[in-house]
């Protein structure tokens, strides 16, 4: 692996901080106007706890998960925290073996679904994450490269975000709005897509 896992976490932090106000604005429309603030605080705390010397994939993902759980708050803290912890559980040493990446992605997705008791079509992070996972696995299974898989996953996640604009929220705080939530994109699906984008960009650097 040429790039450290730390560099990926930092790239995630940067993209979240860059989009902090945007995410908060999306949340203000259908939620409680704190998604960007909370995610930025969480990723800043995580990066602060890590250093360039932290090279072990499993360990860094675990630290990131615990850091997010104890600093983000709201629903995003447990959800994103679980995502990293579950991926850490199945990570193998420092392998970026495509099949292991698929397993990590799957564990993360299952973890988020279980923690949030959500499925696709409820205007949540799952609407970006599940199609992204499916696209990622499809490319890897048909012999594609990790970069191609990430590109397809990002594309699918973005389509997922667009899809959240068309549906009524049935999970999370936006569900209180009922039909009024239509037309707005889900902040959680959006932040997930941003994270994916930062991973791809860092991978290609």
């Amino acid at each position: 692996m040429e790039k450290t896992v730390y560099s990926y976490i930092k790239a995630m932090r940067d993209i979240i901080v860059e989009n902090k106000d945007f995410l908060t604005q999306l949340d203000a429309e259908i939620g409680d106007a704190d998604h960007g603030t909370n995610m930025a605080r969480g990723f800043n705390a995580v990066v602060e706890k890590l250093s360039e010397e932290d090279l072990d994939l499993k360990n860094v993902l675990k630290k990131a998960g615990m850091g997010l759980i104890s600093s983000v708050g709201g629903a995003s803290g447990p959800l994103y925290g679980t995502m990293f912890l579950k991926a850490a559980n199945v990570a193998v040493d420092n392998t970026m073996d495509p099949n292991v990446l698929c397993q990590m992605f799957k564990a993360a997705l299952d973890g988020v679904k279980e923690r949030g008791k959500a499925t696709k079509g409820e205007k949540t992070i799952i609407d970006a994450m599940e199609p992204a996972y499916e696209a990622f696995v499809e490319v890897i299974d048909s012999g594609g490269s990790v970069q191609q898989a990430l590109e397809k996953a990002l594309e699918a996640a973005k389509e997922g975000v667009e899809y959240t604009k068309t549906i009524i929220a049935t999970k999370g705080r936006a569900s209180y709005l009922g039909e009024r939530s239509i037309g707005h994109q889900d902040p959680g699906a959006t932040s997930f897509t941003l994270l994916l984008e930062s991973i791809l960009k860092n991978y290609m650097k």
Binding site: G31, S70, S71, G73, G77, S175, Y176, L177
Partner: protein, 331 residues
């Protein structure tokens, strides 16, 4: 944005400092945590822990004290506290009789409190939880996350707190908390939005002649927007929705809470209450006690919520039991 703050990022911390400095006779803060506990804890009783995002003051720390909570956990503004903080609160107040968590029905709150509960149970602490969902503005169906917890939560603190103070077991305290939850309904409205310190601009905007009906307590938009009307008409609309969801007959007894959202003059809350009282009394329903004031706020929002709690003998006795906390003193 004009606010009496120093730094948005330090708002919660400084608020808690100011709070414990004001009420050392009631509360203290656990070191390095956003957890407020009683300064003179009572042992040998079930402990009650509540909490949630900040911005709802005096909830929840204001209700820590005799006859109500044992600990309150404060999250960031409108953000559930994290599991580690809730876990520390549970550990700090458990004295062997078990701990009841009083959670408002929000996805984040439930996830964080449940993670904390799992951590505490792993350590052998007996933990139970109840989820408050009194807001009738939101439809309750299997296709939603269910109804929000709003001002009715204070009645859960009050009554479950009294039961615990009187020596009730964990199961008994939980049962009575659930009885309150079943019989308490609320509905709110806003005249203005609110501004989170870290955001700096209002969460939504309302025209001079507009109001938002069916709001929660986080500046989230309500169920619908309408032209502003006289107080009596607004009261009738909110009350009707509550009556649709809480079966009340002539001869029944209720407790009433007229809760300000943070920036509503008491004058207006009293004006609203005059109508509330008339409507209820005209139905032959007896009001046992009325609470008017800021109990569960939404930062600087102007507006109010009405809460009705249907009482039976047990709930009435516990409601009238004494409490001595920074935000609710009752003898």
């Amino acid at each position: 944005m004009k606010k009496l703050i120093n730094n948005p990022e330090n708002a919660v911390n400084e608020m808690l400092e100011g709070f414990v400095k004001a009420y050392p006779q009631y509360v203290k803060r656990l070191e390095d945590l956003n957890v407020i506990v009683r300064s003179n804890p009572k042992t040998g009783k079930v402990a009650l822990v509540s909490g949630g995002g900040s911005g709802h003051e005096p909830a929840h720390a204001g209700y820590v004290g005799e006859g109500m909570l044992d600990a309150a956990v404060a999250g960031e503004v409108f953000t559930s506290p994290t599991p580690d903080q809730v876990y520390e609160a549970i550990k700090a107040v458990d004295n062997g009789k078990g701990v009841l968590l009083i959670i408002k029905n929000y996805t984040g709150d439930i996830m964080n409190f449940e993670m904390a509960s799992d951590m505490a149970k792993d350590e052998g602490i007996e933990v139970e939880q109840v989820v408050v969902n009194d807001d009738v503005a939101v439809e309750d169906s299997t296709y939603t996350t269910g109804r929000r917890g709003i001002a009715g939560t204070i009645f859960v603190h009050k009554i479950a707190g009294a039961k615990a103070e009187m020596g009730g077991s964990l199961q008994e305290v939980k049962n009575v908390a659930e009885k309150v939850i079943k019989n308490v309904k609320s509905m709110g409205m806003a005249l203005t939005s609110c501004t989170l310190p870290a955001v700096g601009k209002p969460s939504f905007t309302l025209g001079d002649n507009e109001m938002e009906i069916g709001i929660g307590i986080h500046g989230e938009p309500g169920t619908h927007r309408d032209e502003i009307k006289p107080a009596d008409e607004i009261v009738d609309e909110l009350l009707n929705k509550i009556f649709d969801n809480l079966k009340l007959d002539s001869g029944d007894e209720v407790a009433v809470m007229v809760n300000g959202m943070g920036a509503t003059p008491l004058m207006e809350l009293n004006i609203a209450n005059s109508r509330i009282n008339d409507v209820i009394v005209n139905k032959g329903i007896k009001i046992v006690r009325t609470y008017i004031g800021n109990y569960m706020t939404s930062l600087d929002m102007a507006g109010f919520s009405i809460t009705l709690l249907k009482l039976d003998d047990e709930l009435k006795e516990l409601l009238l039991y004494k409490s001595n906390t920074p935000a609710l003193v009752q003898f």
